[in-house]
Symmetry: C2
Subunit: 338 residues, 2 copies
């Protein structure tokens, strides 16, 4: 057995036909091949364990069957759920997904974007959270622009910071709706556990909540910032408790932080929701069974992954399209009426 994959030339020789005929028989074409030859080629291919070389096909055809997906961290349920939706859609379109996990490092995001561009995928979906770092945004453009100019398609999921088709998550609005609901439930002194200031999601959700709160009540929510993760929520909650601020509910900017916050409360003997109500954002499915059940803002993550791919596979529009996704407030036990 040769340490070399069988090529179409091998198959053609084995079947006693020309390269062209072998190609037509194996990998569709408008041309029709006589049944007898067709069978002979298929047989030869099977005997040789032949698979077409995608690289060579792409070269010859001038296009690939690849789409790139860039996420912050694939082990984060927010991103893995989006990835699942996108993978589903990719399957329907006969596309293969190339996955890049940036770890939230801007430099790595750039590297991966360049790498995906190099792969000449049909499209690239940027699901990582946008920051408000103008320099980085500009650098992204130096990759995105030529890719788009060469016919590549790019979409983003999240905030519309880039001039590309975007599945816009209405973070502000979702957080605002949540604030209104929390207020309606009778809470009076909210706190917010936010992520890093440079993350746009973090700011939007915080600002949205604050805005919603102001609509129906006076007083400003207290804010504590930390990492955008379970551990960040845990630490932020501890600090909040340390501060002695008088609060009756906490809005953590995502479900993971909310879990961390609840863990911190448990450590400190603060009963949720008796002593303190907690709400999150995202409605991560793995966390739907926690107790007390978490009040949150549901995002259609699977759908968002699909939407991004659909957006990016449709004809180019003159200007970047925005497909809005609204979060739905889900009230559960962690914020009982007060």
């Amino acid at each position: 057995m040769p340490a070399r994959a069988a090529t179409l030339t091998d198959v053609a020789r084995e079947a006693g036909v020309s390269l062209a005929t072998a190609s037509r028989a194996l990998n569709g074409s408008d041309r029709v091949v006589r049944a007898e030859l067709h069978a002979r080629v298929l047989e030869a291919a099977a005997r040789l364990g032949y698979t077409p070389n995608a690289q060579a096909q792409s070269m010859a055809r001038g296009s690939t069957d690849l789409v790139g997906l860039l996420v912050n961290d694939i082990s984060d349920p927010y991103f893995s759920t989006i990835a699942a939706g996108l993978a589903d859609a990719a399957e329907e379109h006969g596309l293969l997904v190339m996955l890049g996990s940036t770890g939230g490092r801007p430099a790595r995001e750039l590297e991966l974007l360049a790498e995906l561009r190099r792969q000449r995928g049909r499209a690239i979906v940027l699901a990582g959270s946008r920051t408000n770092d103008r320099a980085h945004l500009r650098e992204l453009s130096t990759q995105v622009d030529p890719f788009a100019a060469a016919g590549g398609r790019v979409a983003a999921i999240g905030e519309p910071k880039l001039p590309v088709d975007t599945v816009v998550v209405e973070n502000r609005r979702g957080a605002r709706d949540l604030a209104v609901e929390i207020r309606r439930l009778g809470y009076r002194r909210p706190a917010i556990l936010t992520g890093p200031e440079r993350l746009q999601v973090s700011r939007d959700r915080r600002d949205g909540f604050t805005a919603g709160w102001r609509e129906s009540a006076s007083g400003e929510p207290v804010c504590v910032a930390d990492e955008f993760s379970r551990d960040g929520g845990f630490r932020a909650m501890h600090r909040l408790l340390d501060s002695g601020a008088e609060i009756d509910c906490v809005f953590a900017i995502n479900d993971l932080m909310a879990m961390g916050a609840m863990a911190a409360c448990r450590e400190r003997g603060v009963d949720v929701p008796q002593d303190l109500a907690v709400a999150g954002f995202d409605d991560i499915s793995t966390l739907r069974d926690v107790t007390p059940a978490l009040t949150t803002v549901r995002l259609p993550l699977i759908e968002m992954g699909r939407m991004a791919l659909d957006l990016v596979l449709n004809d180019v529009a003159a200007k970047p399209r925005r497909r809005k996704v609204r979060g739905e407030v889900i009230v559960r036990e962690s914020t009982p009426p007060r």
Copy 2:
């Protein structure tokens, strides 16, 4: 702007040098290019927004920078955590990950495997759960064998059912250890919530638990089977409760099923762990903060992803290597001493 990406030829022309020089200047080579020319080429490339075409490079070089990863469902934390580990390792090796989500459908697994083979990745990692379907295993071999024969490397994570390098998860042993521990805690009448019989994980964990139980106690654990998911656990638990079986603890074959089981208990007014203890398997990080904290068997998922890639990137061994991974029993509040 042309709807065509700039090519190396374009760059060479723009810089007034030969194709070879442009290639040497841009994409490393032992040959050295004079500084002045080097700069001119880089400049031209930047001006044109040039990125090498990975397909063309692969053709010319005869190798790619791709690795394939096949999982059942990327939104399942078990797989997404493994994927994160593998993506990390891939980054270190300068490789790009192609992700395939099979949805547990054998036919789709085959399709994706063929597709990954077509892409001529350096390696393919099969993380999906193995079944005991001999026919399917044979079909997998028709893809795996020629890929391996042509110098491709394949590794699996899970049960060593395929003659390839495998990160062997010691499911039986982990479940056995858990059973022993449960017994030591004073439980007497265990039940098992298993997944589909055709899944090897499911059988191994069940059999391991049963074996461990027999070592130190008499009586057989009751078994109820359903899907390998949160909903499966939920339904199985309901059926178990309906059956009226006298039990004092439940071992759900993975954490997701355990969550479903706990949800079912809540619905039925069965207090966990007061009325019934519950244990899971995997130690999914997102679920580490649930209450009552779940007793489980911890698997080093991140590490497993890394190991698989390392295994597959090292020199070929004469025979398939097996790298064992042992689960560690973590006792938490959901199984208090009785």
